[in-house]
């Protein structure tokens, strides 16, 4: 009995000490949790409600049932901007292939690795606004450097940003150029994580360069590939700033992305209900990805 009594006291003491620890722990996590409640959870719930209303941001919202969601499927611009967003996402596989190539080249124990890494990485840290202005000048049809360089090899370049057919390819080129560095750093880390013993064993078995790439490198880096695919898709679905500055969505809406259209609806046409419905459909697609 005496024994169990003393353990009870110990347990009670421990309990008190734990309670004090709980206090500290809850205090420590309070800021992000409260921040999430105020600036995350409440707005998100409100946004669900708004998506079922007609709301201009000033007068009080009027419930209109599923009208916003129905309109999403009927609105031709919605269809067009969705198609544009997928078109723009063509840059993802192109950019991934090039950045993997760069990472493999950098992984050959090359001198000047820091120089090359910096060169490819610089756009990743640069202001999107500055880079977009820069590329707008690069794509300038008469005086831009791209058409001048094409001229040297006898090609008359198109009026990139002013032609419906060429504006999106221009955006893809710029996007690939800007995204190489980030993916290259990820791939380089992944390549360095593939055990070299695997390559040595394969060499002993007489595997060629392509076989080693196909059966060791690709499986070895597949988690990173998966990560890049997912983050790139999420990024592409929300890509907006560079389109707004480079083309303003034109010509003839050929470069207006879904998020850009959402922004226009919310803050230009003040269709906040419709914009919220768009945001939810897009958000669900992103979460599913």
């Amino acid at each position: 009995m005496a024994h169990s009594h003393s353990t009870n006291i110990a347990a009670a003491r421990a309990g008190r000490r734990f309670k004090k620890d709980y206090f500290w722990a809850y205090l420590f996590i309070s800021a992000p949790i409260i921040g999430f409640m105020i600036f995350g959870f409440i707005p998100i719930c409100y946004s669900v409600y708004i998506s079922f209303t007609k709301f201009d941001g000033f007068s009080s919202p009027e419930l209109n049932g599923l009208d916003n969601y129905r309109l999403l499927f009927e609105d031709p611009l919605m269809r067009k901007t969705t198609a544009n967003t997928f078109y723009a996402a063509l840059g993802i596989p192109i950019g991934m292939a090039i950045s993997l190539g760069i990472a493999i080249a950098l992984n050959q124990k090359i001198a000047g690795i820091h120089f090359f890494r910096t060169a490819f990485f610089l756009p990743a840290i640069s202001s999107v606004v500055a880079l977009t202005l820069l590329w707008k000048w690069v794509f300038n049809s008469d005086f831009g450097i791209l058409n001048q360089l094409l001229g040297y090899v006898g090609i008359t370049g198109p009026a990139w940003l002013n032609e419906e057919a060429w504006a999106m390819p221009a955006m893809i080129i710029q996007g690939v150029w800007g995204g190489l560095g980030f993916n290259m750093v990820l791939y380089l880390a992944a390549l360095q994580g593939v055990p070299s013993t695997l390559y040595e064993a394969a060499e002993i078995d007489g595997a060629g360069v392509m076989q080693k790439f196909r059966f060791i490198t690709i499986p070895g880096i597949s988690p990173t590939t998966f990560f890049i695919v997912v983050t790139s898709i999420i990024g592409a679905l929300q890509d907006f700033v560079r389109f707004r500055i480079m083309t303003g969505g034109g010509p003839n809406f050929s470069t207006m992305t879904v998020v850009y259209y959402l922004f226009e609806n919310a803050f230009r046409y003040m269709n906040m209900g419709f914009a919220s419905a768009m945001a939810w459909v897009l958000g669900i697609v992103i979460i599913a990805a």
Binding site: P32, V128, L134, W177, L262
Partner: protein, 288 residues
Amino acid sequence: MAADTVKPVPRRHKNGDYFKKTIAYLFLVCGAIVMAVPFLWMLSTSLKEPGVVFEMPPEWIPETIIWDNYKLVVTESNLLGGFLNTLAVTLPPTIVGLFASAIAAYAFARMQFPGKNAFFMALLATMMIPGVVLMVPSFILYKYLGWIDSWKPLIIPGMFGAAGTVFFLRQFFKTIPSELEDAAKIDGLSPFGIFVRIMLPLSKPALATQAIFGFLGGYNDYMGPLIYLNSPEKYTLQLVLATFQDNYNAEWTLIMAGSVLALIPTIVLFFFAQKYFVEGITMTGMKG
């Protein structure tokens, strides 16, 4: 037997190695040129006389270098004011938010309390919520709070910390051995004391990485200021730069000079803190 292990391994692939390296260099040099040309073109344009820009063929190194473009951009536009505004809206959330995230990360990494997993999952869930979903309702909330056309929406929410930073730092804190903490507990240090005196000093590299990414994100942010700010005198650097398009219609020398100036702070930061960038990215990549 011993001689056997010392014997150099025959290098069958020596010629193949040279071949591979040559191809690698060729590929990298071409790539680096493609990366560098637009930047050099920007620099070159920013140092030209306005008319020279429209001359064919273009001069890569301008005959007369015109520094006046930079002087003009700084004195005429609000670029400098925008830079100061950017610092004002970026530094407080970066510093305070980092502290809030770090202390929460410490609790999640090292302390036991009921509901820990539920709270952590709730935070992780916020990372899953795409920014677009929050765009409209946040605006409505800030309007309700009377925060529109002020810096508050850019500063205050960030001060509560960020889920991604909590997650990253939690992973880092878990790698720190707990002996020091145990010793400090025996010495009677409070959990707050342990965090400030022991964990923070041990976590400088991880904190630096997060601070740099936080600052960079704030410095380069365009969407937030675009939605919340109306008065030009409150504009951040990126907004001021974006107005160059309209204000300096086709005056590419000035637009490029402004862009170069806007890039300089991040490029300087990158050169001084390169290893943090690489570590930060690879660590976020590895969690996937």
